[in-house]
Each structure stands twice: as structure tokens, then as C-alpha cells.
């Protein structure tokens, strides 16, 4: 049931180049999505009603619909409007939207978890709203949010596997392709699984370590 050594050697270049695409999509989605998450979090907390409703809409759609549907909406749906995207850009946009929606909730909760006294102190020493956010709330809020953001990054890495459905040659697509040409599905898919696990498991151990440290830091 497990791949032979020769099989592994011949598959590995394929699989690794798939993994590299998965990682690229992950990195770009996070790099675009987390700043969007911050903006959306501020939008949801904003005083203006219009801003708040728009931000809430983007967040609720990005979280409410399955990432798979979001992906297909952008890849198969947008061409109907005349805007055709390659599978790589579609993947990045969909997953960045997903990231923005989820991380905005993480960031919003972290900002709201900061003791009320911090805001009062910032106000009473005369800081304006922007400085209050920049120097007092965000540095503390992002520190609180860090473990959850890292945890979400692992989910997005795994979420890149959904791009199989829009023909992006990422890790799952490569493994499936190998399976369908050699009819050695199980070993090929297993090899891909091991590659995912090799990244996800250490990463999740790291996240729980960061979580523990953040917890003990807060207790001091």
C-alpha cells in the first residue's frame, strides 16, 4: 500500500512543485488577506453606518460561504461578467477574501479584549483616535491575536487543497494526476498527505507553544 522507493523518487519532483504552489498561494492569500482583515475589523467597529454594513457584508459572505464555493464563484462565476482570471489569481483572491473575513473577527475580538482602561489612558493623555489605535490598541491587540492568526494560517495552507477544483496544479492535483496515470492512487495520495502533515503538524505544535507562552505572559 505504501509507495516504493523508486516511485517516491520519480514522484517527488512533481509533488514538491505542487507543494511549492500550495505554499505560494498560502503566503499570498495571507499577505493580502490579513491586512484586509484589519481593515474589515476597523470597518465593523466604525461609527459610520454605511462603512459598518459594507464591512459586515464582506465578512459574513467570506465566512458564511464554504471556501470551495467562494473559489468556484470567483473562478467559474466572474468570467460571466467579462472578467476572466487564471486559476492562480482566482485562488489567491478567494482565499484572501476568506482570510480577510476570518481574521477580521479574530482581530476585532482581540481589539475588544483590551482593557477599557487602556483606551481611557490613551484618551486622557491626549492621543487622537489614530495614534490611540497605532500606539496603544493595535500593538496589544495583534499580540493577543497572534496565536489565532497563526492557527488560521495552517487552515489556509490546508485550504489551498480546494484549488484542485479549479485546476490549479497544487499538491492534491499533482497527487491525483499521478494516481490517475499510474493507477497507484493510494500511495500517491498518501505521499501528498505526508507532505501536508510534515508542514501542518510542526506548525500546529508551534502554534500551541505560542498559545501557551501568550497565556503565561497574560497571567503575569
Amino acid at each position: 500500500m505504501i509507495p516504493t522507493y523508486d516511485e517516491l523518487v520519480s514522484w517527488l519532483p512533481e509533488l514538491l512543485s505542487g507543494l511549492s504552489i500550495s505554499l505560494q498561494v498560502t503566503a499570498l492569500s495571507l499577505a493580502l488577506g490579513i491586512p484586509c482583515g484589519l481593515v474589515l475589523a476597523l470597518g465593523v467597529l466604525a461609527k459610520g453606518k454605511g462603512t459598518r454594513i459594507l464591512a459586515l457584508f464582506l465578512v459574513e459572505v467570506g465566512r458564511g460561504a464554504p471556501a470551495l464555493v467562494l473559489l468556484q464563484f470567483i473562478y467559474f462565476g466572474l468570467p460571466g461578467t467579462g472578467l476572466t482570471l487564471g486559476s492562480f489569481s482566482a485562488a489567491v483572491i478567494a482565499l484572501a477574501w476568506n482570510t480577510g473575513a476570518y481574521t477580521s473577527e479574530i482581530i476585532r475580538a482581540s481589539l475588544q479584549s483590551i482593557a477599557h482602561g487602556q483606551r481611557e489612558a490613551a484618551v486622557s493623555i491626549g492621543l487622537n483616535r489614530f495614534d490611540e489605535l497605532r500606539y496603544v490598541l493595535l500593538p496589544q491587540g495583534l499580540r493577543v491575536a497572534l496565536p489565532a492568526l497563526l492557527g488560521f494560517s495552517i487552515l489556509i495552507f490546508q485550504g489551498t487543497s480546494l484549488c484542485f477544483t479549479i485546476a490549479l496544479p497544487e499538491l492534491v492535483s499533482r497527487a491525483y494526476e499521478i494516481g490517475s496515470t499510474t493507477f497507484r492512487y493510494f500511495p500517491a495520495l498518501l505521499a501528498a498527505g505526508v507532505l501536508y502533515a510534515c508542514i501542518s503538524i510542526p506548525a500546529s505544535l508551534l502554534v500551541s507553544h505560542v498559545e501557551k507562552r501568550a497565556g503565561s505572559h497574560a497571567q503575569r
Binding site: G64, A65, V69, G77, G80, Q158, S161, L162, A175, F183
Partner: protein
């Protein structure tokens, strides 16, 4: 978008619900022995269950379904798409529910254990009478939001041909070339499905909060 199109998507609803409920029930039940193993005093048992949970969670759901459906089903034991999806999602749900239970267990104040010991309740009674009710109480909100997450996760079953919501949407968009509307409606279905769960969870939470008043 005609009524017929709408009905075509709607046909996927029963399978989405069946997959969600089936996998959640299996996961919520299997999560209990998995948690017990994870908290066991026997190191090997603890280690094996921890590795199992990590591996299940470390591999994307779509790949699990492929491993079960294409990897096992095509080569070793024939299996239907629905059963493959149900098994895969149940496995994932069990690992995730075990982690949710574990988080809830950790949140129980150590004073509860000390009080139980000072009353000489014994290990079994402490777990069943003292810990379990509190664990389920604390786990309820996370379990509910996981149920919503799992419901959306079932969309991956479309990739192995289970004719649920996302699958029907995919078929329809290919036959009508109107992906934008079709996928918007499919997405809306998932949002609508999550509303009663969110509402029930809030109601149950409020009820328990009033009853247990912690």
C-alpha cells in the same frame, strides 16, 4: 435564474444535511473515547491518540476523501462516494471534537477536582457526575460553531461526486454558464443553513446559563 434551476440546487440539500448531521453525530460520539485516550494515564495510549489526532487534523479534508474514495475504494474495498465522504468527515469531526472537549475540560476550575477528591467521589463519579456536565456545558458554543464549520466542509464531498449542494451548483453552472448567480445562491444556502444552528446554540447557551448560572 428560473425556478427549475433553483430546484436543481435545492436537490442537493438533503445530502448536505445528511452528511453534516451524520459526521457530526459520529464525531461527537467518537470524540469521547478519543479524549479519554488522550487524557489516559497510560503513556502509550496518550501518545497514540495524540499522534492520531494530529495526523487527522494535519491533512486537508479533501485529501482524506480522496485517500478513502480513490486510494482505498478504487484499489482495495469498493466504497460509495457518500460513504467515503461520511467516513472521512466523521474521522475529521472526531479529532476536532476531541480537541474541543479537551479545551472544555481544561477550563474546569481545579477547585472542582479538589472538591471531588475531598468528598472522596472516586475517579469515575468525578468524571461522570462532576466533569462531564460542565464539559458539555462549556463545549457547547465551540461545538455549535464547529457544526457550522463542518456543514461548510461537506462541500468538499462534491469533488468525489456526492450530489450535495456544491455539486448541484457546479453541474448547473456548467450547463447554464451562469456561475455568478448559481454560486451566489449556493453560498446563500449555506448561510441560511447556518442560521438555525447559530440560533439554537445561542438559545441553548442562554437556557443553560440561566439554569446553571456560572
Amino acid at each position: 435564474m428560473t425556478a427549475a434551476d433553483f430546484l436543481a440546487i435545492l436537490r442537493g440539500l438533503p445530502l448536505t444535511i445528511a452528511l453534516t448531521m451524520g459526521a457530526f453525530t459520529a464525531g461527537a460520539l467518537l470524540g469521547i473515547p478519543l479524549l479519554a485516550a488522550r487524557q489516559s494515564r497510560l503513556l502509550p495510549l496518550r501518545f497514540v491518540s495524540m499522534v492520531l489526532i494530529q495526523i487527522v487534523r494535519g491533512i486537508p479534508p479533501i485529501l482524506w476523501l480522496f485517500i478513502i474514495f480513490f486510494g482505498l475504494g478504487m484499489s482495495y474495498v469498493p466504497i460509495s462516494p457518500f460513504n467515503a465522504a461520511l467516513i472521512g468527515l466523521s474521522l475529521i469531526a472526531a479529532a476536532n471534537m476531541a480537541e474541543i472537549y479537551r479545551g472544555a475540560l481544561a477550563s474546569i476550575h481545579f477547585g472542582q477536582w479538589e472538591a471531588s477528591r475531598s468528598l472522596d467521589l472516586g475517579r469515575w463519579s468525578t468524571l461522570v457526575d462532576i466533569a462531564a456536565p460542565q464539559v458539555f456545558r462549556v463545549a457547547l458554543p465551540s461545538a455549535a460553531s464547529y457544526l457550522i464549520g463542518l456543514m461548510k466542509e461537506t462541500a468538499v464531498a462534491s469533488t468525489i461526486g456526492v450530489a450535495e449542494l456544491a455539486f448541484q451548483g457546479n453541474q448547473l453552472s456548467q450547463s447554464t454558464f451562469r456561475g455568478l448567480e448559481v454560486f451566489a445562491i449556493v453560498g446563500l444556502f449555506y448561510v441560511l443553513l447556518s442560521l438555525p444552528v447559530a440560533w439554537l446554540s445561542r438559545a441553548a447557551d442562554a437556557y443553560l446559563q440561566a439554569k446553571v448560572a456560572r
